[in-house]
Symmetry: C2
Subunit: 586 residues, 2 copies
């Protein structure tokens, strides 16, 4: 037996017992007569003490030789400490060792295995197995485990069956780029890795499985922006014989249980907002509702007063940054620079302060009489000390820019506390998005999303205005989940493919199995998928998903620890009936 | 709301309530004045009755038009049945409908959606979504769900963390063929899909995760023999600071819990047998211990009597087929043909019956005196009515053939009851297997398996005799799980790679990350992996894994439902910097 207890187990009640612990050397401290060894494992740290004249000198000598991260086993008696450490669960006791065995020595790690490490990103990725020893990283993965267990418990309790869908599937032209896998047994042909199990879960509904879920890896071969991974994990769910309301209830229940079980509080009923409202009030389909600062439209009170920037704008819109009238010139210049960044996209920023006496002073005073400015104040419901920030321009672009400014202000004002969780359902998404560049419509969610029945007549006349039975779960400005009621009628599905530019032949070749399945008795159904990596990082109070994934890839899609991807042998290529064809310069 | 209850919910206590059910038309029966509709969903079947003069004629007309597998919704009152059906949980009641809505019509299915279907394998695979509607197939997947939930509950309770390891990893030359994935961002390079998360779980032990598990898809690009799938699922586990005994205890506990929770009985403590004993007593490293019929070695009593086949054989070995003395000539000829099949490989079969009077009559009477035959009888512990079946030849080959014959006899005698479960640990596997063809050793388990400490000196002298700290869990003659204590010392691991024919450079290129990890404080560790598909089919009392997988592939690795693998576009190939190169005739 390599241990009788873990390094987190021992308490006052164990005093007097002889125990064996195994773990890593966190550190040794040689205080002359007393030599301390802190022994660490996943469960905690236990102090081992080697006292001059008490423990054998040969044991003390052995202990002195230990380096950081050596793996050792200690057998000894549990003793009460002279000076207890209230910060450590095992702080009441220490081990008086009888034997000390080095199970494996360790080279000096390339960075400190401490909560605050001196390791850079690159070293931490290359030696990921050492980075994972650090408490904060390990705790993230423990949190992930607990969340997954809780998800499964809830869904099992609700009658959902976890069904594994295949990983080797078929490439489809819709959506993001597929990863593909050459088939040795079918030369010249390829499998694709799933971007989601969408069609399979719908087939399971056609099969009468009624309630399906899966925590499942999905794959997208996209250029990796910060915090995207080529392989990611979804909580994927589908239900038959349901309407939107059934789904919202079920998964609000799931999300609340996760908060209760893992975070220890119930966030209560989730508010709901239509997509149109979210865009109008926050300029975003995933508003951060931890703080108000809602958009106020000013066309009526700001136009026709001779200020050309506002007069010529499709939309004049602003936010009230409460209590920010004291912002300095420098701060206001920073905000102006912020909104002018290409990724924000505004051309300028107008501001107005409400003075202690209630008068308004704006950056465009020369165009606006105080009387008009008072109308602005009223529109914002502003009070002395408030700062009004106003943008103008094309409606969509301006709302998008003001959303960025709102988030920036929320950040500056400390209104985006990571331990404050505000879930929100966003409903009634548009079915289609028009792409100016190639003059066609794309599915906003995916091609299987059903239009709202009352909007179906618009499909032929104004497809851009058709609303979908689609919904997102947003928490703190991040999309955590999204789904829809699906099409279950072959005719509607075929019409949808047509709108998306598929010829009937292409639709048949790609999705014939699904269209056929709809002819054999498909029930009404719908579902949702949660981004599990994102959910974990949100619950963990972090911005990045990377430290919630045991072995992540870097921004070039490489695993620098195992050095993958890598070249394969000519024999392998030949067996697979493929050849590499690397262009010069690549 | 599309339903208030499922088709399995309603009982006597619901009589008088108005309910809405939705489901599939199992069948309609028009009995003149009474017209019945059986409505089916995952949860059961409920009868709807349309009575002349009670239900509106227009409703009866609607019901008459319904075809099999139409999806309908029925609202009506729950009524007590005149003639109850005790075989149906809902058999006390029926629905007197008020409205009937067709949610989706259905074409006639290509095969019967009944427990016994008329569908052939090919049709069932192509229309898998219809096959999955059949109770036996759906129940298999429900069983799979329950097993997975139970596994997770047990391991979570034992402190194991489920950690997802990557799917896009690195190709290695060892083991089976890898599936590979061309990397678009790293032209000319490939990821590989994991054959198992072996190295990652070992790294998690180096990371101090202490107890890891994962229910995870693995991939092997092998020629598919019957009942192999290119993607399959493992329960993958690893523990640190353990010896073999700790692992056997932990996973015996898991397996017993699965039996208790899912099959409703405790199989008790698992017996253990060494590999050497298993080979000697059963000619197999996975003996079916539901029945005895152990091997009896006869060299002493059968050689030196002038029968050249026995005299020249390395091994003469037999089994006692109790009570089979009455086998006819025809049956014995069948057995002789059986052992001579190439996949069995014996050259002939000798048999001997024990007559009612205790004398022995054998097929080789002319070489053996009754006195010698009585010695055979004694060796077998045989009684009147027994049939002794004897093979002779090279030891390994003969044991292998007798194993096949033993299993065949067990089958014929009905001793292999699928609801009788006999788990067994097989221990002390050889570390290496020698391959005559290429004159080198291969790892019997995998290159990370540790030799038994006492056998380490043999590594340099007689590597073929080194035993490993490796174990298999066998149930009813099927390997359900296997694992080992791993090497955690860089030097031993490097020596192992050397024995397996890796140059130091190759070892470094392929497994450098693991060898390095071992230098930074690797704890002793070991683990096990269970074949989850196989476990499910065993618990389900089936021989094949295919119907325990929702969407399996056929023997050419094709998914005939979605028609995958398939060709991809020239643009995709170009982006991936690869070309197909299909040889003529393929």
């Amino acid at each position: 037996m390599l241990r009788t207890h873990t390094c987190g187990d021992l308490r006052q009640e164990h005093v007097g017992q002889t125990v064996t612990l195994s773990g890593w050397v966190q550190r040794t401290r040689d205080k002359g007569a007393l030599l301390y060894l802190d022994l660490r494992d996943r469960y905690g740290i236990t102090q081992v003490v080697f006292e001059q004249g008490v423990e054998a000198e040969q044991l003390r000598e052995q202990a002195r030789e230990l380096g950081r991260e050596f793996v050792v086993s200690v057998t000894g008696r549990v003793a009460e400490r002279y000076s207890k450490n209230a910060n450590l669960p095992t702080g009441d006791v220490e081990i008086r060792p009888e034997t000390l065995t080095v199970l494996n020595p360790a080279k000096l790690p390339p960075f400190l295995i401490e909560d605050e490490t001196d390791g850079g990103d690159e070293a931490r990725m290359k030696y990921r197995y050492l980075d994972l020893r650090r408490n904060p990283v390990r705790r993230n993965l423990e949190l992930r485990h607990r969340l997954a267990q809780s998800v499964r418990r809830y869904l099992d309790g609700q009658g959902f069956l976890e069904v594994e869908t295949p990983v080797l599937i078929k490439s489809t032209p819709e959506g993001a780029r597929d990863f593909v896998v050459p088939s040795r047994m079918n030369p010249g042909q390829f499998y694709a890795l799933p971007q989601s199990p969408q069609t399979f879960k719908q087939l399971l509904m056609v099969s009468g499985f009624d309630r399906y879920f899966q925590i499942v890896k999905c794959f997208r071969d996209e250029d990796l922006r910060a915090d995207r991974q080529p392989e990611f994990t979804q909580i994927d769910c589908e239900m038959a014989f349901v309407e939107q309301e059934d789904i919202l209830q079920t998964f609000e229940g799931l999300t609340r249980q996760l908060f209760i079980e893992v975070k220890g509080f119930d966030p209560g009923e989730f508010p709901r907002m239509t997509y149109a409202d979210a865009m109008r009030r926050y300029g975003s389909d995933k508003p951060d509702t931890r703080f108000a600062m809602e958009f106020v439209e000013l066309n009526e009170v700001a136009q026709g007063q001779g200020f050309p920037v506002f007069d010529n704008a499709e939309l004049v819109v602003g936010i009230n940054a409460n209590t920010c009238a004291s912002f300095t010139r420098k701060q206001l210049d920073e905000l102006t620079d912020f909104v002018k960044r290409p990724q924000v996209g505004a051309t300028g920023l107008v501001y107005a302060r409400v003075e202690p006496d209630g008068t308004v002073k704006s950056s465009v005073d020369k165009f606006y009489a105080q009387e008009v400015l008072q109308q602005w104040k009223e529109a914002f419901g502003a009070n002395p000390g408030d700062l009004l920030l106003i943008l103008a321009g094309p409606a969509d672009k301006t709302r998008k820019a003001l959303n960025e400014l709102r988030l920036e202000m929320g950040q500056r004002l400390g209104l985006r506390n990571k331990e404050d969780f505000r879930p929100l359902w966003v409903l009634d998404f548009p079915l289609l998005e028009y792409n100016e560049e190639d003059g066609r419509h794309y599915a906003m969610h995916h091609p299987f999303t059903s239009p709202k029945p009352e909007d179906v007549p618009l499909l032929d006349t104004k497809p851009g205005e058709v609303r979908a039975n689609a919904y997102d779960l947003v928490i703190n400005g991040t999309e955590i989940g999204g789904g829809s009621i699906r099409i279950h009628d072959r005719g509607v599905q075929a019409r949808m493919f047509e709108l998306l530019g598929f010829s009937p032949e292409e639709a048949e070749a790609q999705f014939g199995f699904l269209l056929n399945a709809f002819e054999y008795g498909a029930p009404p159904h719908g579902g949702i998928a949660f981004g599990f990596d994102r959910l974990c990082s949100m619950f963990g109070g972090a911005d990045s998903i990377r430290d919630f994934i045991a072995f992540p890839k870097n921004n070039s899609g490489r695993d620098v620890m195992i050095d993958s991807p890598s070249e394969i042998s000519a024999a392998q290529l030949k067996e697979l009936s493929i050849d590499t064809k690397v262009e010069a310069g690549k």
